[in-house]
Symmetry: C2
Subunit: 325 residues, 2 copies
């Protein structure tokens, strides 16, 4: 999410934004709305450093220089190592005045997955759980729908904000989920299953039969890795079998964000290894009772930073960044 505004004589002449992945950048979207006379000596405000390399689009730096814009105000320097500072350097070399860091934190929040990914070389991980008031997440070996329709719809929507959705093997086997979003997407999130032991071997699951999104399995079981699956299914044979190894493989495959939907054991590991950045809890005002399974439990004392609350019918959604201090 990037936005740009072109100003001259204290008047906003044009604005533009990055409409979607692969589309023209915000700067080009704004610049192409104006004539050369309007652009001459104008100031460009942009939330992210203009690119200086050819990706899906030609470099914005060249277009800015050709437009005879005299000043560029940038919120956030691009964390992408291919880009960092290079756009600014090029602009300055062509005598364009550059100001950086204006509303930088706000701009960073627009693309926190992207920023985190390039700063840490690991995907941004959000844990999502649905709990009863007594901190139960399900019954043993039985699928249970804890929250109501409004919460389920919200989950289907927010899956679309991530590049991948992860579950553990128990969730895959007991729930047999589709893990699809409710939004039509050219690139739906990849469905990830962490299955070290290979419990999914010879199982008939929707994740294998439904090809509406890719399915990636991470295992240490060589038999599972050798199994022949439909084209949308890919099996990664792990070496150490750690979460870090899984996340590194995902990063190498350009997966910038992961939405982890359980179960509790998987989520506990993410928190204990400090590999999760955000927690979303859906609470339902029910008690499942002491025969039900506990939600994830950790040994450390943790906090959520600036939690956000949203009421969804009878349920509530609590989200916040995890503070590991």
């Amino acid at each position: 999410m990037v936005g740009a505004v072109i100003v001259k004589d204290n008047q906003v002449l044009a604005s533009g934004y990055h409409h979607r992945y692969g589309d023209v950048h915000a700067e080009r979207d704004a610049i192409t709305k104006l004539t050369p006379e309007q652009l001459f000596n104008s100031t460009l405000y942009v939330t992210l450093e203009p690119c200086n390399h050819t990706g899906k689009q030609p470099p914005c730096s060249d277009l800015i220089i050709a437009s005879k814009i005299k000043r560029v105000v940038i919120s956030q320097i691009d964390p992408h190592s291919l880009v960092t500072g290079k756009g600014i350097k090029k602009l300055k070399a062509h005598n364009i005045s550059v100001t950086t860091g204006v509303l930088a934190q706000e701009a960073k929040k627009l693309n926190q997955h992207y920023a985190y990914f390039y700063e840490h070389n690991l995907p941004y991980v959000t844990l999502k759980q649905a709990l009863s008031l007594d901190h139960k997440c399900s019954y043993p070996n039985k699928r249970v729908q804890i929250t109501g329709n409004a919460a389920s719809q919200k989950v289907h929507q927010e899956r679309a904000d991530y590049q991948a959705i992860m579950v553990g093997s128990s969730t895959a086997l007991i729930d047999n989920p589709t893990l699809l979003t409710s939004i039509k997407q050219d690139h739906p999130p990849i469905r990830l299953v962490l299955d070290r032991r290979g419990r999914l071997l010879n199982q008939q699951l929707t994740l294998f039969s439904d090809n509406r999104a890719p399915t990636w399995i991470f295992t240490q079981n060589p038999e599972l890795a050798k199994t022949s699956y439909p084209l949308h299914v890919k099996v990664f044979l792990l070496d150490q079998g750690t979460l870090t190894e899984v996340l590194q493989i995902l990063a190498q495959n350009q997966v910038q964000s992961v939405y982890v939907e359980g179960g509790p054991t998987l989520m506990k590991s993410f928190v204990e290894e400090k590999l999760a950045q955000e927690l979303i809890t859906y609470f339902s005002p029910t008690f499942l009772g002491s025969n039900a399974l506990d939600g994830f439990e950790i040994t450390e004392n943790l906090k959520l930073i600036q939690p956000n609350y949203q009421v969804l019918d009878k349920d509530i959604r609590i989200s916040g960044r995890i503070d590991y201090v």
Copy 2:
């Protein structure tokens, strides 16, 4: 909470309400604002059946008859056995037209503690807990403040809505609480401690030394019952030691409502014996970790009816009637 309105020729001539315990009733508050000419042939709307007995105030039925009001519309028939139907009967005997049941449910909600008390001959019980996101309520043997200031202030306010506040002996010993409200009251809630074994024997507690509200101890320990305490402290020696026995003693002493502030064992007993009507949970977006004590856990599958959510700084308050079905 009772309100009254006097109407004639489709015009509201006066309204009145019961300002506080012991004060004039709503009907009298409204009637005394008008002249005999205004009252003649008027209609009185009142949320609760007019009384026909002398309590802190003379009976309203006599005043209505003397005022030559021609019709009385009543929302809720008084559940108080001394009053039920008697006011209506008296009015009818004097040829006053009486309509009942208009917005009866809404009126009942105004005084749900009162209504429950007279319908069941037991106090209305609300359980209140403060929990972390991982369903922990405290550390062992150590006081912990889970929620923030806004939630604490809300608790101090809502204590004033009850006639008594109850804690278990562990909470009394570990927290050494004052259990006072933040509102100046002529009749502050009675502070109740359920202490079957008599663990409070020979303990120096604020509940004993601070006489700003009465303290009542319920015990099966005769030694505790024999102890000499300041005048504001009263010790009840229990026979069976059940919660029902405690609530029956409270009902005999005209305590209509109890706010139970823990600990988890006491709250669990209330729910398992189906003696609690309402649950208020304050959630804080923190994790206390697995060394902390669990919030109350029950075996049954329970729901809250029409839960209400309120955000208080970083915390959230969830309240609702308990559905035991």
